[in-house]
């Protein structure tokens, strides 16, 4: 009965609703955008009312929030963290730097296009994006989840070789364990 297609659909709907309503965020806050997270979470904007809540470790997190620029050095860690997360998982790129490099577009050490390395589900534009836009970004993600379109993880799995090739271009000394699902 459970493996039945129609019941699977219902299960999916319920699951997606739950996932949508409960977003545990692992904020990778090395960029300057991290300063926007506290106001988003605390009294003024209170993201928790949407079910958004911080997670302490990648094992528990649903969303990897990348706040700002990523150097090649941090990219390695971000990939590692992403791969340690458990399905279903989503990535939010936060700020211009993750989109096109932003003000670091000519830095020798900063990647410019995040979605070449990790499957980004939602980008939040701005430098810095204000908490309102952050919340709207989460709203967009919830929309995608409930529609079942936020399948970045699946994409990553399917195109792992392509992603790996891109990652290894930046990180010559690749010592990470294999990503096996």
């Amino acid at each position: 009965m459970i493996n039945d297609k129609s019941s699977q659909k219902i299960v999916d709907i319920i699951q997606n609703w739950a996932r949508k309503q409960s977003i545990w965020v692992l904020a990778y806050g090395t960029g300057c955008g991290a300063i926007e997270i506290p106001p988003t979470m605390t009294s003024r904007y209170d993201a928790e009312r949407l079910g958004v809540r911080g997670a302490a470790t990648p094992r528990q997190a649903d969303v990897l929030l990348i706040t700002g620029y990523l150097t090649t050095k941090t990219l390695k860690r971000v990939i590692r963290v992403y791969e340690q997360m458990q399905d279903p998982k989503y990535v939010i790129g936060f700020g211009s730097c993750t989109i096109n490099g932003g003000m670091y577009y000519d830095s020798y050490n900063t990647i410019k296009v995040l979605d070449k390395y990790l499957p980004v589900d939602v980008y939040i534009n701005g430098c810095m994006p204000r908490p309102e836009s952050v919340l709207s970004g989460f709203g967009k993600l919830q929309e995608l989840i409930s529609e079942g379109k936020a399948n970045g993880a699946q994409e990553y799995k399917d195109n792992l070789e392509w992603y790996r090739a891109n990652q290894k271009r930046i990180i010559p000394n690749w010592v990470m364990p294999d990503y096996n699902w």
Binding site: Y28, V78, R80, V81, Q84, V175, M176, P177, N180
Partner: protein
């Protein structure tokens, strides 16, 4: 020849033969060693019945050997553990030097312990006691380390205890005219009050040393950790129980004649509880597994003493049951440490980690024993703890129970430390080569662990002989029936049924294990311990991520005021003071002839001056 003589003869000759056989062949030596432990044990259980006695004379003193119901319980510990630990020892000693020495002392220890149980008179009791002491002393210094500190300390404390006992023995001789234990017990109620106090106190000092009672416990950690682990399991498991054996006899058949509410019991019970607390705190502090277990033994013996000292039926049952349980689980743990020491070469928590996948059986045995040690249901330790608490509550020892509870809660800390330190944590590459211990070492551990499991649900198996033994000591049973095969009662009529608990725990556990396993079975995967969420870092092979140094630092900080006062320091100060004093007396002998002559003249003059006061 009587079977009793034969048993001791086999032990004695077995000890010597298994020593000497090492010159011929090691396998033969192992077999002979096992035989010299197992054969007498089998003979004992087949042919010796309770009440059987032999009499003979030595040095003009009547001696008599025979087993009582009470001794029979302890014979279970001694011989059961002796046999299992002997099997373990064969595995443990493989490829080590001085096996003959080890085997010799081992067999002698077992023999002397059995002899203590057999002794119906004080002289043979004392002789066996001393054989036990020096054979265990020789084991303590087996590896030749710390002989002058730990070894001597052990022997001195043993000697203090033994001599206190000897004093009690000779005093009892002056009272009864012979050395029979039974005669002293008979004569005890009519003695003068001073003797009524003095004899038990002296005896208790003697037994308290072996039972590692609080001010006399300082030898224990060193001695336990310094002797080879195969022996320590017997040392802590059975040998320390001899102290409990004597203690029980004193408490049950002598102190019970003292007036009701006398401070003696209270003081002893408090000493036991303080021993437990202090032993536990020190155990938490240790970084070496042997030391940890040694202090833990001290603490556990404290519970036992408390139980026996309280003196109600339930508390004595609790104390003796805990004694049996302690023999089971603590020896398993020492065996596990021995296995780890053998396989890895160290017993330090800060060095060894992550052995769970390399030594799964050892882990299983340790886990069971630790659960039993912590007193968590459904294993045997819980039964003992339950009875102890209930007896403390029902006999209005309200402050005592707090102290006991504190120490048994703090015991969780070291329990966890033990398991975590060795088996859990990062699986370091350094220990990747480690294999499971030889099967000869694993089997005894598992058997003992299984025993603690069985006794956790069916304590009646062992409570029955304990009850018989208590009655043999003259403990009048109350009309209330306080135990059944798997149900325990306290004197207020509350009860705990163990079987439903076991089934409930198992049921819930199984249900959720199945749930955890089946749910997403395909998408659940095993990852190595290097694959942890450490801020995105990939730990390198050589990077040690184990947390094992200063493990309970916050706790130690909290209890630091207590820990600052080490009783060891006082003893050392005392000993140093004595040595200094002796150095002064040594100076009496100046080495100068004139001085000596002056001594002679002075002596003569003084004697002549006071001659009428001294003589006549």
């Amino acid at each position: 020849m009587d079977m009793i003589y034969l048993i001791f003869l086999i032990f004695l000759s077995g000890a010597v033969i298994s020593w000497l056989a090492g010159k011929v062949n090691h396998v033969l030596q192992d077999i002979l060693f096992l035989a010299s432990v197992i054969v007498p044990s089998v003979l004992f259980y087949m042919n010796v019945s309770v009440g059987q006695e032999v009499h003979f004379k030595a040095g003009g003193i009547d001696l008599s050997w025979g087993i009582t119901d009470f001794g029979w319980i302890f014979s279970l510990i001694v011989l059961g553990l002796g046999v299992l630990a002997a099997i373990y020892s064969v595995g443990f000693m493989k490829g080590k030097e001085r096996r003959g020495y080890f085997y010799f002392n081992y067999v002698l220890s077992i023999m002397s312990m059995l002899g203590i149980l057999f002794s119906k008179d004080f002289v043979s009791f004392f002789i066996f006691w001393e054989i036990m002491t020096w054979s265990s002393y020789l084991m303590v210094i087996y590896n030749g380390k710390h002989t002058q500190s730990i070894g001597i300390k052990y022997f001195i404390f043993s000697a203090i205890g033994a001599y206190a006992m000897l004093m009690a023995i000779v005093i009892s001789h002056s009272v009864t005219g012979n050395f029979m234990i039974a005669d002293l017990i008979t004569a005890y109620p009519v003695l003068s009050f001073n003797l009524q106090l003095l004899i038990p106190i002296l005896l208790l000092v003697g037994f308290g040393v072996k039972a590692a009672l609080m001010p006399l416990h300082v030898w224990a950690p060193g001695a336990y950790s310094n002797s080879p682990m195969a022996y320590t399991s017997v040392f802590s498991g059975a040998l320390s129980k001899m102290g409990v054996y004597g203690l029980s006899i004193v408490m049950l058949s002598m102190i019970s004649h003292l007036p009701e509410g006398f401070w003696f019991r209270e003081v002893l019970a408090w000493m036991g509880a303080i021993t437990a607390a202090i032993g536990t705190l020190w155990a938490v502090k240790q970084d070496d597994a042997k030391k940890l277990l040694a202090y833990s033994s001290v603490a556990q013996l404290g519970y036992i003493v408390t139980g026996i000292a309280i003196g109600t039926e339930l508390s004595i049952l609790a104390g003796l049951f805990l004694a049996v349980m302690h023999a089971i689980f603590k020896s398993t743990l020492f065996m596990a440490v021995g296995a780890i020491e053998r396989q890895t070469g160290t017993t330090n928590f800060t060095e060894v980690t992550g052995l769970i996948r390399k030594m799964p059986w050892t882990f299983l045995a340790s886990l069971m024993s630790i659960i039993a040690l912590a007193g968590i249901p459904p294993l045997g330790g819980f039964v003992g703890k339950w009875m102890l608490y209930e007896s403390l509550i029902t006999s209005d020892h309200y402050m005592l129970i707090i102290l006991v509870f504190f120490s048994s809660t703090a015991a969780f800390l070291y329990c966890y430390k033990f398991l975590f330190g060795f088996f859990l944590g990062q699986e370091e590459k350094e220990w990747a080569h480690v294999k499971e211990a030889p099967v000869l070492m694993v089997i005894p551990m598992l058997v003992l662990a299984g025993l603690s499991f069985v006794l956790g649900t069916f304590p009646g198996l062992i409570l029955k002989p304990i009850d018989a033994g208590m009655q043999a000591l003259g403990f009048a049973p109350t009309n209330q029936h306080l135990w059944d095969t798997s149900i325990l009662f306290n004197s207020w009529g509350n009860q705990v049924a163990l079987q439903p608990i076991l089934y409930a725990i198992l049921g819930i556990f199984v249900v959720f294990t199945i749930f955890l396993t089946i749910k997403g079975y395909k998408n659940t995967r095993y990852v190595t311990t290097k694959d942890i969420s450490s801020s995105g870092e990939v730990p390198k092979e050589h990077e040690n991520l184990t947390f094992s140094i200063n493990f309970f630092q916050p706790f130690m900080r909290a209890v630091e005021p207590v820990m600052r006062r080490q009783i060891d320091k006082y003893y050392n100060g005392f000993a140093n003071g004595l040595e200094a004093l002796f150095d002064f007396t040594r100076k009496i002998y100046t080495g100068n002839g004139q001085t000596y002559a002056i001594y002679v003249i002075l002596f003569l003059i003084i004697m002549l001056l006071i001659k009428n006061n001294v003589f006549g």
